[in-house]
């Protein structure tokens, strides 16, 4: 449940951030969010990956549709993806997801050294750590 909240939170902050900041805001947001909000490593990666991959996927599809794919297949030949618009859209989502996921994972790893094992027994919400590992 918390993972879903986090994904939504990251996604919302990324969308807002992309209006004002360069593309790498999608790395900064999951890094910070996973630094603040506790998750395990896998959750940290997925929170970043899923939220950004979704945003980039949706936006790419919207642009592709609105412009009748005028540029998609051309770029898919330059890159080279055999001219497949679908492959380029998926690649876009994967690249965004990967960058965000890795940043999220690193944010979590950073949290793990900042917060010592003793303090870690209790989370900010007063519940034992193990309760979140589900």
């Amino acid at each position: 449940m918390k993972l879903i909240v986090k994904i939504i939170l990251i996604a919302a902050l990324c969308i807002a951030g992309l209006m004002f900041f360069p593309w790498y805001i999608i790395m900064a947001v999951p890094f910070i969010m996973n630094l603040i909000i506790k998750t395990n490593g896998t959750g940290a990666f997925f929170s970043g990956f899923v939220s950004v991959a979704m945003i980039w996927l949706v936006q790419a599809i919207v642009i592709h549709t609105r412009t009748e794919g005028i540029l998609t297949s051309k770029i898919a030949l330059v890159l080279p993806l055999g001219g497949s618009a679908g492959a380029l859209i998926v690649l876009t989502a994967l690249i965004g997801g990967l960058a965000a996921g890795l940043a999220g994972y690193t944010g979590n790893a950073f949290r793990n050294i900042l917060i010592s094992p003793n303090k870690k027994k209790k989370s900010r919400y007063g519940r034992p750590d193990y309760m979140h590992r589900s």
Partner: protein, 802 residues
């Protein structure tokens, strides 16, 4: 352990960030590039995209009204000239910025900065030709002329206002793909563009090739196959009934012309495909009684197109036509009173001199028995991802040493200096500025008289009924054969002694035949009082003149047909002989039958045209086998002279194949052999392509992106013609803008070019004209008299002063 894990992933994340933000050659930075919020996706444009109704721009004096028509041609209405050129710069940049900068980077020898070391040879050659040097001199010339200076500054300010408004997401696609940023525009860049054109049109003279031919074949054969002036065969620009006065300047002529020095240099490939057609017919020959002017310059077919269509209007004048992205004003076009167009005047204005240095330091060279000082320009060539390279270019009083041992890596190489009119300070731009506002023949004459390089045939027609053509340029005075071959740089007798007086440049006003025309042929017949040489076209002009001669009550449709005429005069003059000498054959009978039925039209769907062209190419390379020598600059004679040799000297030794020692071949043998080869080539083509043989499919015309990115190009376009044909479209070169202007009241004009107004491969306006162009159709040009003439489908925009 945790720390180690964090460090590992921090490093991994940082590495990924680095790759995605800065890129790893040859890939673009994937994060930056693929982000749908700022990367390439943002360059995809929808057909229904809104153009903002107003834009606030710093630098305008008053508001400017721009109207974009349904092809995105901007019609700019300004209240003063500063704002006009400012807006031209701004609007042009908004559609063509990457191309503008790339072309000037190309001219300046700065492509290695963008693509890395693979472009070093190209960049070095550009520097050695002196294009950057010449552009710097041109800027000084601009700055001495306050009007020219203010026009160029306003244009540059307009471009820069646009560049300043850009964020990464707005950058043209190519910057994102090649991962670099635009730099501020400057007068130097406009000057570089003009030198780029001068170099393209006059920068490759054949002196070195012809010297090699003399060394190889002897002077007599060289003069036979590369004649200057086959007077009885040509159809000059100035009709033969025009009489010339005796020369007003006399020259010192040497006893022996500098001939036959063998030149061991690696070739810089030049194209013989550059050409153009223009003509104007007087009202006496048209259906409306008003003159009609036509022009189609033949250039390399690129995307974005070399031309950008535009209308420029201020209260004092109103002009429409095509501009060169990067330079103010309209280059080919019309206003309410006149129309003008250009073709290349292919007189040789670049000569080569062999320089003898005192020693390896190259600080002094021999000239008239004394040692003369050189100057040195050190060219810094920046290279992407590498340390810059420095190339020392030595300048003599002739011009730069282009070829030497440091370039060719061959210690035996000669030091060759070039003398080129393109390296002299000049201000060609003002010619166009004055043409834009010209009202009559006198204005036209005044506008063109300062034009130096590239020499152009300026065709002219006025609503008041005049037609005229001038070959205008700065043309050196030459004694016979001067500058046809590489000359001795140690004696003043070989240097240029002056220029043909401007008023004696070839020209004609309102000739008896009621039309003027040019298609890169000899400007005059042999009675012209001055010697000139060059490579002149010998087919298109004869076809055009023959057609114009025959026509009467000419309509715009007739002119459209003539611009798209596919008649292959070369085939008409060579195929009957080829078929006769071929005799009886047993294989490839179907090809001969197709040729016998052929009407000599190189139409897109013609099979016979493809057969003829393949056969002739094979024949040509068999005939000139002696000239295909590895690593030597050689020039294959023009097809016209090849055909002329076939008719007049069928037993000449050039027809012997040098590699066969047991036999002396004649023309007849070569025709049979080449047919056999052509038949095999055609059969092979059909096997591979699995489609019927047609001329267009064989020729496969493509309009290619400037960075040669095939996905951004259009290939295999269904169009006929060929070089040497009026519709001069071969596989990579062709009519780059077709324009027809009928100077009736009000003026009617038609035009089309193989590209679109937008330079963005993601725009619906990227290739607008290509289909119509290939079919020989035209757009009606919207020559608005005022902004109130806006019609449906057009979009108004106000550029507001900020």
């Amino acid at each position: 352990m945790r720390i180690l894990k964090f460090l590992l992933f921090a490093l991994l994340t940082a590495g990924l960030f680095h790759v995605m933000e800065f890129g790893v050659s040859p890939l673009p930075p994937l994060g930056k590039f693929l982000s749908p919020f700022s990367g390439f996706w943002q360059n995809a444009e929808s057909k229904n995209a809104k153009i903002p109704a107003t834009l606030e721009i710093e630098g305008l004096i008053e508001d400017v009204q721009v109207i974009y028509d349904d092809r995105m041609v901007p019609h700019i209405f300004a209240k003063n000239e500063h704002d006009l050129f400012f807006a031209q710069g701004y609007v042009t940049a908004s559609q063509r910025l990457w191309q503008m900068e790339f072309q000037t980077h190309f001219a300046a020898g700065r492509i290695s900065e963008i693509v890395g070391e693979k472009a070093i040879d190209l960049d070095r050659m550009q520097r050695r030709k002196g294009l950057l040097y010449a552009a710097e001199l041109t800027v000084e010339a601009f700055e001495r002329d306050s009007l020219a200076n203010s026009i160029l500054q306003a244009y540059a300010d307009g471009v820069n206002a646009y560049i300043k408004s850009l964020k990464y997401k707005d950058l043209p696609l190519e910057y994102k793909l090649l991962n670099y940023n635009p730099e501020p525009w400057s007068k130097l860049k406009s000057a570089l563009l003009l030198k780029y054109m001068a170099d393209m049109l006059t920068g490759s003279s054949k002196d070195i090739e012809l010297s090699n031919a003399v060394a190889l074949l002897g002077y007599e054969v060289a003069e036979l196959i590369y004649p200057d002036f086959p007077d009885s065969l040509i159809d000059p620009i100035v009709p033969r009934d025009v009489k010339y006065n005796p020369p007003t300047v006399q020259l010192d002529t040497p006893a022996v012309p500098g001939l036959g020095i063998r030149i061991e240099v690696e070739p810089e490939k030049s194209s013989d495909n550059i050409g153009s057609n223009n003509w104007a017919v007087s009202g006496n020959k048209t259906a409306t009684g008003a003159p009609i002017l036509c022009n189609d310059p033949h250039l390399q077919l690129n995307l974005p197109s070399i031309w950008y269509e535009i209308q420029l209007s201020i209260p004092q004048y109103n002009v429409y036509g095509v501009s060169l992205p990067g330079a103010p004003a309209v280059i080919i076009g019309f206003n309410n009173d006149i129309a003008w167009g250009v073709t290349n005047g292919t007189q040789d204005v670049k000569d080569w001199y062999k320089i003898q240095f005192k020693d390896a330091s190259r600080k002094e060279y021999l000239f008239d028995g004394a040692w003369k000082q050189t100057t040195v320009r050190v060219e810094e060539i920046k290279i992407k991802g590498k340390k810059p390279m420095f190339d020392t270019v030595v300048y003599t009083h002739f011009g730069p040493i282009v070829y030497d041992a440091t370039l060719t890596k061959d210690t035996a190489a000669l030091n060759l200096a070039s003398r080129w009119t393109g390296l002299e300070p000049s201000n060609e731009l003002m010619t166009f500025y004055y043409l834009n506002r010209a009202k009559n023949y006198a204005d036209y004459l005044k506008a063109i008289e300062t034009f130096q390089c590239p020499g152009q045939n300026f065709v002219f027609a006025s609503a008041s009924g005049d037609i005229a053509i001038w070959q205008q340029g700065k043309f050196p005075l030459k004694w016979p054969k001067q500058g046809k071959y590489v000359m001795d740089g140690s004696s003043s007798i070989y240097q240029w002694q002056g220029y043909i007086p401007q008023s004696e440049n070839p020209h004609v006003l309102n000739p008896l035949r009621n039309f003027v025309s040019s298609a890169n042929q000899h400007p005059t017949d042999a009675t012209y009082p001055y010697y000139y040489n060059g490579f002149f076209e010998l087919y298109r002009n004869r076809r055009i003149n023959e057609r114009l001669e025959m026509m009467d009550k000419i309509t715009v449709e007739d002119m459209m047909k003539l611009q798209n005429d596919n008649f292959n005069l070369q085939a008409a003059e060579s195929l009957p002989l080829m078929l006769k000498l071929l005799g009886k054959i047993t294989e490839g009978v179907e090809y001969v039958e197709a040729l016998q039925k052929w009407n000599y039209m190189n139409d897109a769907l013609s099979e016979a045209a493809a057969i003829y062209e393949v056969w002739f190419v094979n024949l040509d390379s068999l005939i000139w086998d002696e000239l295909y020598i590895q690593g030597k600059m050689m020039e294959i004679p023009q097809e016209f002279y090849t055909v002329w040799m076939m008719h007049n000297y069928p037993h000449h030794s050039i027809f012997d194949i040098k590699s066969t020692t047991d036999k002396v071949e004649t023309l007849e043998d070569l025709i049979q052999l080449s047919f056999h080869k052509a038949k095999n080539a055609l059969n092979h083509w059909k096997e591979i392509h699995k489609e019927p043989l047609t001329w267009y499919a064989y020729k496969s015309t493509s309009v290619q992106h400037l960075a040669r990115l095939i996905p951004f190009s259009q290939t295999k376009i269904q169009i006929g013609g060929n070089k040497r044909i009026v519709n001069a479209c071969d596989s990579r070169w062709g009519p780059s803008w077709r324009m027809i202007v009928s100077l009736e009241k009000p003026i009617k004009a038609y035009g089309v070019y193989p590209g679109g107004q937008s330079g963005n491969p993601g725009s619906p306006y990227y290739t607008t004209g290509i289909e119509k162009w290939s079919r020989g159709e035209y757009f009606t040009l919207n020559f608005l008299q005022n902004p109130e003439e806006i019609s449906s489908g057009m979009i108004p925009q106000i550029l507001k002063q900020k």
